[in-house]
């Protein structure tokens, strides 16, 4: 049995770890709330944009094909976190990224990654996967319009120049603080409009300025930016959700460990007292005898 002093020291250490995990859980909870609010605030924009894109592309019936003789390459953005300590969040998203990589490779694509988050960058460096762009240190917030715009600009430029013929984003969809699901969404070529078979109503008559040919790229760009921004928001909420859950269970584990150690400590203390008593009684007997 460990000595009383050693057990006491361990209890103190577990307690301070628990304090840290508890603080991290509270911070994650606060950030999660903020991320969820941002997710809700972004909804009207995406909905309105989807409607406009729908009306425009339906009215025009324009297909957005990749540039002619585009190379069979794909750019996959993987959104992970800069930091760990968030349960399986990073592992899951990186595994989903690998699956996408393999399925694209099976289709004959050359894949490069747009790695967002230190954990993704580290992983692809380690496995020597081709990284097209890396973006780390997205503190204090991951989901910024600036980052979404940077990613969108890169994808669109490569797509238009024919350097890539497909662009996707792998991110974690936020369901609740307990469940998050990694998903892959194809961004380019645009797959926004799913024509329903019964959708035979005459397209709405719109006055389109300056001209459909000039307007479609603007809509596509906005749509791309909004989709990426949405993915970033989901990823941010998921990260904090996962972190909150992980830190909550860490705090609980620390609590259980403290209980177990306290029991052990009490036993050790009693054993010591008993031993001392025996010594005293033994000594007294010896003197009397």
């Amino acid at each position: 049995m460990a000595s009383l002093k050693a057990i006491r020291r361990r209890i103190a250490s577990v307690k301070s770890t628990q304090q840290i995990t508890r603080a991290m859980k509270l911070i994650a909870a606060a950030r999660l709330r903020r991320a969820q609010e941002a997710l809700i605030a972004a909804r009207p924009y995406s909905e309105a944009l989807a409607r406009v894109a729908d009306s425009l592309l339906n009215a025009q019936g324009i297909d957005l094909a990749p540039a002619q003789n585009a190379e069979k390459k794909a750019l996959v953005a993987v959104i992970a976190a800069d930091r760990g300590l968030c349960g399986g969040y990073n592992t899951n998203i990186i595994r989903a990224g690998e699956e996408v990589l393999h399925s694209l490779q099976d289709d004959g694509f050359d894949v490069a990654f747009y790695a967002v988050g230190k954990k993704a960058v580290d992983h692809y460096r380690r496995t020597e996967a081709p990284i097209a762009v890396e973006s780390i240190n997205n503190a204090p917030r991951l989901a910024t319009i600036g980052l979404a715009r940077t990613i969108a600009a890169r994808m669109l430029a490569d797509f238009q120049s024919g350097a890539i013929s497909q662009a996707s984003i792998v991110y974690t969809q936020f369901k609740s603080a307990l469940t998050q699901k990694p998903v892959c969404e194809q961004l380019l070529p645009v797959q926004t409009i799913e024509k329903k078979p019964d959708d035979t109503a005459a397209p709405l008559d719109y006055l389109i300025e300056p001209s459909p040919a000039e307007l479609v790229p603007v809509v596509v760009k906005s749509y791309l930016e909004a989709s990426i921004f949405h993915a970033l928001l989901e990823a941010e909420a998921s990260e904090y959700g996962a972190k909150m859950t992980a830190m909550d269970s860490a705090t609980n584990n620390a609590f259980e460990m403290i209980n177990a150690l306290t029991l052990e400590m009490n036993r050790a203390r009693q054993a010591q007292i008993t031993k001392e008593l025996m010594d005293i009684v033994g000594g007294a007997e010896a003197l009397r005898g």
Binding site: A41, R51, I145, D205, Y206, I208, P210
Partner: protein, 139 residues
Amino acid sequence: MAERFKVKLVTPTGVVFEGEARQVVAVGPLGEFGVLAEHINFITSLLPGVLRIERPDGPVESWVISGGLTEVKDGAMTVLANSAQTPDSIDRGQAAAEEREADQKISAMSFYDPEYPAAEEALLLARARSQAASATAAR
């Protein structure tokens, strides 16, 4: 004839304005345009500039938007701005400095430079910000 119509101004970070207007003035690729009630169904892109919403009861509210799209459908207008800023949140001196900087940057550039459209957009935004800030200061 209806004299007012519904307007909604949304950005990726939330709904900025939702209400009724008598007239909305914005800057499109073909120049400044106004929208009144019973406008035809209409879609256009927006350049960086000032968006003015004239309320039915008089006051005019304005925002500096950094480009976007707008749609008028069945008499209701939706403005999808990349970002919207109220003029009183803009510092006049700083905005003027930004405008000069953007101006210098673009005059040193070739028209065929791939960065040219972005620089042009930056200049338009800086100009709109600076003008909106001075207009607020003059009032």
